[in-house]
């Protein structure tokens, strides 16, 4: 097995899968996307610069996720979500219930964002990438990243606050 390829796989697999999962919210689809991304890396392994592998993989994964969403015809609906990956419904204090509800709502709305907003929110807020890393992956300027991130967060807030399951009381501690 090609050693550099294996190194890349171990290094980036988790990041790619997380991105695909939060975008698609179906584990099997996310797995397929990641698998396909690494297959493509294998096919192009002699053409991709070693220092660019991470960014290359991320762009391929982003395109594959977009294709998957397009094939679905609509955003991931509640019934398509892997419910076994969501927090179990157990009797809990009210604040835990509120937190769980908000968490599920935010995850759903992240998946409902369009690109590039969804990508930037996942990379920055969930995966903790720096502005520069995001700029390198997406091929845009730092200022562009910041502008898009703030727009993305505003859009996310609009989606959450207009969601049928949202209630202001969910913000109460």
């Amino acid at each position: 097995m090609d050693a550099p390829f294996e190194t890349s796989r171990k290094l980036y697999q988790r990041r790619l899968y997380s991105y695909a999962w939060y975008s698609l919210r179906v584990a099997a689809d996310a797995e397929d996307v990641v698998q396909e991304a690494f297959v493509r890396l294998w096919e192009h392994r002699r053409e991709v610069e070693p220092m660019q592998v991470g960014a290359w993989l991320m762009r391929v994964t982003q395109n594959l996720v977009t294709d998957q969403i397009r094939r679905r015809g609509t955003r991931a609906r509640d019934e398509e979500v892997d419910t076994d990956l969501l927090p179990a419904e157990q009797p809990a204090p009210a604040d835990h219930h509120h937190q769980r509800c908000m968490k599920a709502l935010v995850e759903e709305c992240i998946a409902a964002l369009t690109d590039p907003y969804r990508t930037i929110v996942i990379m920055r807020e969930i995966q903790g990438l720096s502005y520069q890393e995001i700029a390198d992956i997406l091929g845009i300027s730092l200022d562009h990243v910041k502008t898009d991130l703030f727009r993305a967060k505003r859009k996310l807030r609009e989606l959450v606050s207009s969601h049928p399951r949202y209630d202001q009381h969910l913000l109460e501690d």
Partner: protein, 187 residues
């Protein structure tokens, strides 16, 4: 009340436009002070700010996920299988998975050895026009062509993970008619 329903005046509009940048500390100086002032004096904008902070807290606490299954075939094998759908291509692709399968290597070595024997001339003896392998007779041209095809197939498979159709169906065909002997000794 959603942001869309929020009573929207120019001050609130400006506040909401810059809320996320302000929370990120990207609005310094007097502009930041002005936003703080509006926040302190607008109940609805305070609600929006609370929602923004709650969403930030939730997203930043979301974990990265690992691939849940280990049963999927490794990407390298998946790449080879994806490009070798059916029939002889599948057979040959499987044989060449690790590039060291003796079942493919051996015929190439045998043919290469035969070629070497044919090419080495130690004396006035003429180069044989035909070679018999396992009771089947082949002429030089056929052996050379088959060896070249096999080498090409191996290179193609290495590079692209598949074999061109022309080479898949290429076989070593024994001749059915005598090859004209252009060097027939004079009678």
């Amino acid at each position: 009340m959603s942001e869309a329903e929020h009573k929207y005046d120019s001050a609130c509009g400006q506040f909401l436009d810059r809320l996320d940048a302000w929370l990120a500390g990207e609005v310094p100086g007097e502009a930041g002070i002005a936003l703080q002032h509006h926040h302190d004096n607008c109940a609805q904008c305070r609600v929006e700010t609370r929602l923004a902070r709650a969403i930030d807290g939730i997203t930043r606490a979301l974990p990265e996920h690992d691939l849940p299954t280990l049963t999927r075939q490794p990407p390298v094998q998946a790449a080879h299988r994806q490009t070798s759908p059916l029939g002889f291509q599948v057979y040959l692709a499987r044989l060449l998975d690790t590039w060291r399968q003796p079942l493919v290597y051996a015929p190439a070595l045998v043919l290469a050895s035969l070629l070497a024997l044919l090419l080495v001339q130690t004396g006035p003896a003429p180069v044989p026009q035909t070679v018999t392998v396992d009771g089947v007779e082949y002429n030089q041209e056929e052996i050379l062509r088959a060896a070249a095809d096999l080498e090409l197939a191996l290179r193609y498979l290495d590079k692209y993970g598949t074999i061109p159709a022309r080479l898949v169906h290429a076989e070593l065909q024994p001749h059915t008619e005598p090859v004209p002997n252009t060097e027939a000794p004079a009678i």
